[in-house]
């Protein structure tokens, strides 16, 4: 139940980052909870991807456009800049190639909203230091041998990746384990220590360069007209 509440808070926050009537792709949309909220509150036009077949079918039965698929295998089928926002919530750390997925998000969408658990949180640091074992927390409740989370990273790591990949951090919001939220300013290192979860709004510094890289450029333009 606690988890449910924190997810909904997360959604509220994500909603606040999105302009009204935007085209949104929610990757890992589950049975469509966030999609439903975005359609209702800000009249977003939504599509979803969900890897779990049962959740996909629930989402479809709820009347949402959701395809069963996988963020690492199925994003290629979307054309360049076909969404205003692409959301990847709490999943990047489970990707085999998180950097590639991140770049895909910004190829498909004008902006990407990425949230992830911060491995730099003091509790996690302390657990590893004191017990000498891989940390297990409320937000990361798995043992090392069965966790779906295969790439752990901290807020600082993520900021560095963005910098190295010409990705602009338009906004970054920290959530503490007590549910407090505040803007992360890159100057203060305290965020990395006290944040259990972070949400980033990202865009491309040099949007044109990625467009030229793709052979499918002309189709993207057509789809913009058709859509």
């Amino acid at each position: 139940m606690n988890n449910e509440i924190s997810i909904r808070k997360d959604w509220k926050l994500i909603e606040s980052l999105i302009n009204k009537k935007s085209k949104v792709l929610d990757i890992g949309c589950g049975e469509g909870g966030l999609i439903a909220q975005l359609e209702k509150n800000i009249q977003a036009k939504t599509n979803g991807i969900e890897v779990n077949a049962e959740l996909t079918r629930k989402a479809i039965a709820n009347g949402f456009n959701v395809v069963q698929g996988n963020a690492e295998e199925d994003l290629f089928q979307y054309s360049n800049q076909s969404f205003d926002y692409v959301i990847l919530s709490q999943t990047l750390q489970a990707m085999i190639k998180p950097k590639d997925v991140l770049l895909e998000l910004l190829r498909i969408g004008g902006k990407a909203i990425v949230s992830f658990p911060n491995f730099g949180h003091w509790r996690i640091r302390l657990q590893l230091l004191l017990t000498g074992k891989m940390p297990i927390t409320k937000g990361l409740p798995y043992t090392w041998y069965e966790t779906p989370n295969i790439h752990f990273f901290t807020i600082k790591d993520f900021q560095n990746l963005c910098k190295a990949s010409n990705i602009i951090i338009e906004k970054s919001i920290a959530l503490t384990s007590k549910g407090r939220r505040y803007e992360i300013s890159s100057g203060i290192s305290g965020a990395n220590l006290f944040t259990s979860e972070a949400i980033f709004l990202l865009s491309y510094q040099n949007f044109q360069s990625i467009k030229i890289q793709s052979k499918q450029k002309s189709f993207a333009n057509n789809s913009a007209v058709a859509g």
Binding site: T56, A59, I60, F64, N65, V67, S79, N222, S223
Partner: protein
Amino acid sequence: MNKSFYISENLKLECSIANFTNVSCKLDSNFELNEFKIAYKTFGNLNEKKNNAILICHALTGDQYVTGINPITKKDGWWSRMVGPNKPIDTNKFFVICSNVIGGCSGSSGPKEIDKKSGIPSGGNFPSITIKDIVKVQSYLIDALLINKLFAVVGGSMGAMQALQWSIDFPEKINNVIHIAGALKHSAQNIAFHEVGRQAIMNDTNWNEGEYITKDLIPERGLAVARMIAHITYLSDDAMHRKFGRKLQSRDIISFGFDADFQIESYLRYQGRSFVDRFDANSYLYLTRAMDYFDTVKTFSNSIEFPNTPNQHINYLIISFTSDWLFPTPENKEIVKKLNYFNRKVSFTEIETDKGHDSFLLDEPDLDLTINGFLESNFNKVQLYE
């Protein structure tokens, strides 16, 4: 449209017949049909807004008896577990139409029906039919029923081909497409299986170049073999193993002969024999050919990329089955990819089952839930906006 049609009731077939006369319906082959008839059944009631009509397209050997009792076989209709009052496609809410395809043998114009000019069944003189033609002729029926826009077109296998063709040719007349276990094109492997089936029929001396009804002959051996081959493709290795394994039929030891020693042999022989009683060999030739000719790779792509008629409103649901090797998941996903690339309204799910291609006709609760939820939630949305 012109009013060159009349609707009659066929008491023997327990269905309605829409008779079209003085029409000029040009087929893919350039042959012009001037008259034809479509046998159909409807279930439930068309509402006042006429926005609750669902067209269900049958598969290769299906017919208009989608639910209720089939008067020919005296058995339940082919999708009675899916369609009916309080069923996933609920006829308390929706007005369901199901028509026999042209070229078929359950009352619509086809090789079995008497050709007015010659006075005998048209047999091999019946014009070649494509999926596009089947859909074109269906659209005459929908117009005759005074329905401007179907809420949904639903079909599996050859029915899925028709549903897809509707979205290409008549996007303005449909809102939702449910495409189950189909593909953008019929694969080489599928054509190959069909060809073996056709050869079995045409090599039966009773086939007599398609003229067998007047001679009181039935190419039953050929048709039965065709059905046996096809039936294998509708199942899966796992399902066959689960159901039959190497079990022997009514015997404890093998016969060292060519009797149906194994249960699977006996089962296939039964399937072949009983098929002959309800299906016409020439129809089988015409309709397998229609499926072979199906290739919408270009036409579907063009309709999505450069639509002549607005089609952005169409909401697609694509469903595949893990063990379907006739229309496997990757082939179904080709449609999803194309729609996603152009940012269209599309949903897709792959249902895990070992029942093969035939899964869409069998007890698959996940299929029921998905179809029911998709139809009802989208219908409720329509009600909100209108």
